[in-house]
């Protein structure tokens, strides 16, 4: 039997039992669709994280208080053993360090007239917009002199703005209540899109004050994080060494601070995301195994039902190989059909999800899914096909 004939006859067999074929392939459909979807979410997450890190700039070094380890559970919220004087000293370490800014943050209730919103107050430096991709929608960012004089001024995130003032309200020039203190709004930030809603780094729900003023308002005296900028990305490790030496001189140990180089951190996070995606896809792939068992099962039923047909085919000249290939082709046809539908559904779902979070269907995951569904067909079809091919034509013809 030639290849074209094999395809034709197995297509016919699959079509003859449409409902059964569909139900049989459902397992493979679900398995492939979920693998495609999960991998696309994982890939989307990775490219999102990568982009966020890149917007941070590659010439920065982040200092966090305490020891942050990626293997030992979540980071503890510890009070820093260093203060804003240390931040100033680090900046003074000089080449290749060009800037060191400490920041503090804390969740607070923000109030304007009868409206209130629970957001985050961040104390940052006046030159913050210069480094991030923060843009002003109305008003201005606070100035260096306002920071030096610890003025009670604030720039509010877009979400905070709409919650307190509505879509069209005027915020600049108004006073809002932050943790019981009266603070003047000097600017509103542009809305930041494309993020994972509600995440800790969501600037939309932030209000930004001069770090000096925020410290006075919240009573926090120690920085929650320090950003050290260097001239070039290649300088980051040198800066890290200098910072480390400085802290050691101040009798701090490795348990008191963590230096994070974004590039390194990015690699760690991405490999971590890769593992998570892989593990989730692995779990989804269990459905593929179940789907394969379903196909094997229905193929056994089919062999039994069609014993007479097999007997006849053998009587008129079908060889062992002819029958083997026929049933194998049917099993592969079923699983590849399921795989293709699964790829379509998975891609569709991924596009749908793409309207909420970033997803990316990769060619690799499509090809892999297709390959795996072929493999599932072969594996689940082989035993029934062998049983069919082994049938004795006499017994098969007599079978009622």
């Amino acid at each position: 039997m030639d290849f074209a004939e094999l395809i034709r006859s197995s297509t016919r067999a699959v079509r003859t039992n449409k409902t059964r074929s569909f139900l049989t392939t459902l397992g493979v459909i679900i398995g492939v669709a979920s693998v495609i979807l999960l991998v696309s979410i994982g890939a989307g997450l990775q490219s999102y994280v990568t982009r966020e890190f890149e917007s941070l700039g590659s010439n920065v070094l982040l200092i966090s208080p305490g020891r942050i380890s990626f293997s030992g559970g979540p980071p503890q919220n510890v009070e820093a053993k260093f203060d804003f004087d240390d931040v100033r000293n680090i900046e003074k370490l000089g080449e290749p360090i060009i800037r060191a800014s400490g920041m503090i943050s804390r969740g607070v209730t923000l109030k304007y007239k009868s409206k209130s919103y629970y957001g985050t107050v961040a104390g940052v430096d006046y030159d913050y917009p210069q480094y991030g991709n923060t843009e002003i929608e109305a008003g201005r960012f606070f100035s260096k002199s306002e920071q030096e004089r610890s003025k009670m001024v604030v720039v509010i995130g877009h979400k905070v703005y709409t919650e307190l003032f509505g879509e069209k309200g005027v915020a600049v020039g108004k006073d809002i209540d932050i943790a019981g203190g009266k603070v003047a709004v000097v600017g509103v930030l542009k809305e930041k899109g494309g993020g994972f809603g509600g995440g800790g780094g969501d600037e939309n729900s932030y209000v930004m004050m001069p770090v000096t003023s925020a410290s006075k308002l919240t009573g926090i005296k120690k920085p929650a994080a320090v950003t050290v900028r260097t001239r070039t990305a290649e300088d980051v490790p040198i800066a890290a060494r200098k910072v480390k030496e400085y802290f050691y001189r101040r009798n701090l140990t490795d348990d008191d601070f963590t230096l994070m180089e974004p590039k390194e951190l990015l690699n760690t996070i991405n490999s971590f995301l890769g593992v998570i995606t892989g593990a989730l896809s692995g779990i989804a792939a269990i459905s593929l195994v179940v789907g394969g068992i379903g196909i094997a099962n229905i193929m056994f039923v089919s062999v039994t039902e069609r014993t007479r047909e097999i007997g006849l085919r053998k009587a008129v000249g079908a060889t062992y190989r002819d029958i083997l290939l026929q049933f194998l082709a049917e099993a592969i046809m079923l699983s590849v059909l399921g795989g293709s539908v699964g790829i379509l559904i998975g891609t569709g779902l991924s596009l749908l999800m793409g309207t909420f979070i970033e997803t990316s269907v990769t060619g690799g995951s499509v090809i892999l899914s297709f390959g795996i569904s072929c493999l599932v067909g072969v594996i689940s079809g082989i035993a029934p096909a062998i049983r069919a091919a082994k049938l004795d034509p006499i017994v098969a013809l007599r079978w009622e």
Partner: protein
């Protein structure tokens, strides 16, 4: 007939079932059967049920191998051929017609008839032409794309006969071909067989029906695994 050309020849063929090594009793379904069927003959094999008729049918149809003795088809010994070799030989030499028709359901008459040619590896167009010719020959030229469920019993058996003949076999082997048909269709099918016989087709028909058997030129009667009568024996 001027010269006798043997199509199938049995020499001292016996068949035993059961494996004494596994403690089962050995049943001898055929014992020391010898006969020759020549080209163009129309032979009926008859006998009561359990006589070894079916076993003989399977041997003639190359579906089974003898325990002892030799079978020749077109002068070549079948011997110790394996399953696949037998399958190829069946494809070349034997056309089967069954009591139950054994057509593929939900499959057109044309596709049923071309089935043996597919296993022969013949190209699509040639398959199509030969199948069409064969269906026209059995009077179903206007039923090419009908499925078995859309055909009467007699028509289904005609499709089966077309399928058996499409390979131009050395031997047409029919097992109770009228057993599932009403009298009228049965008579028509027998008429078709006689026409085929007149056109030189070698025909072996297995039946328990004496009326059917009487229409053959020669009768082989089998009982308890032995040939008890062979009208063709000189």
């Amino acid at each position: 007939m001027i010269k006798k050309v043997p199509v199938i020849e049995f020499v001292g063929v016996s068949k035993e079932y059961g494996n004494p090594n596994e403690g089962g009793a050995v049943v001898e379904a055929l014992s020391d059967v010898s006969f020759v069927v020549n080209k163009g003959e129309f032979v009926a094999i008859t006998g009561p049920s359990g006589s070894g008729k079916s076993t003989l049918l399977h041997m003639i149809g190359l579906l089974d191998r003898p325990s002892n003795g030799k079978i020749y088809i077109d002068g070549n010994e079948v011997g110790d051929l394996n399953g696949d070799a037998l399958a190829n030989l069946r494809n070349q030499k034997i056309g089967f017609v069954f009591q139950q028709f054994n057509l593929l359901a939900k499959t057109s008459a044309m596709r049923n008839v071309e089935l043996p040619l597919i296993y022969r590896g013949m190209g699509r167009r040639e398959r199509w032409e030969r199948s069409k010719t064969e269906l026209e020959a059995v009077g179903l030229g206007d039923r090419l794309s009908n499925k078995p469920s859309q055909l009467s019993g007699g028509q289904q058996q005609r499709v089966a006969i077309a399928r058996a003949l499409v390979t131009s076999p050395s031997l047409l082997l029919a097992d109770e071909p009228t057993g599932n048909l009403d009298t009228k269709s049965g008579i028509e099918i027998m008429k078709l067989f006689e026409d085929l016989h007149e056109n030189g087709v070698t025909l072996i028909l297995v039946t328990h029906n004496p009326e059917i058997a009487d229409q053959a030129d020669r009768q082989i009667v089998i009982k308890d695994g032995k040939i008890v009568r062979d009208t063709g024996k000189k």
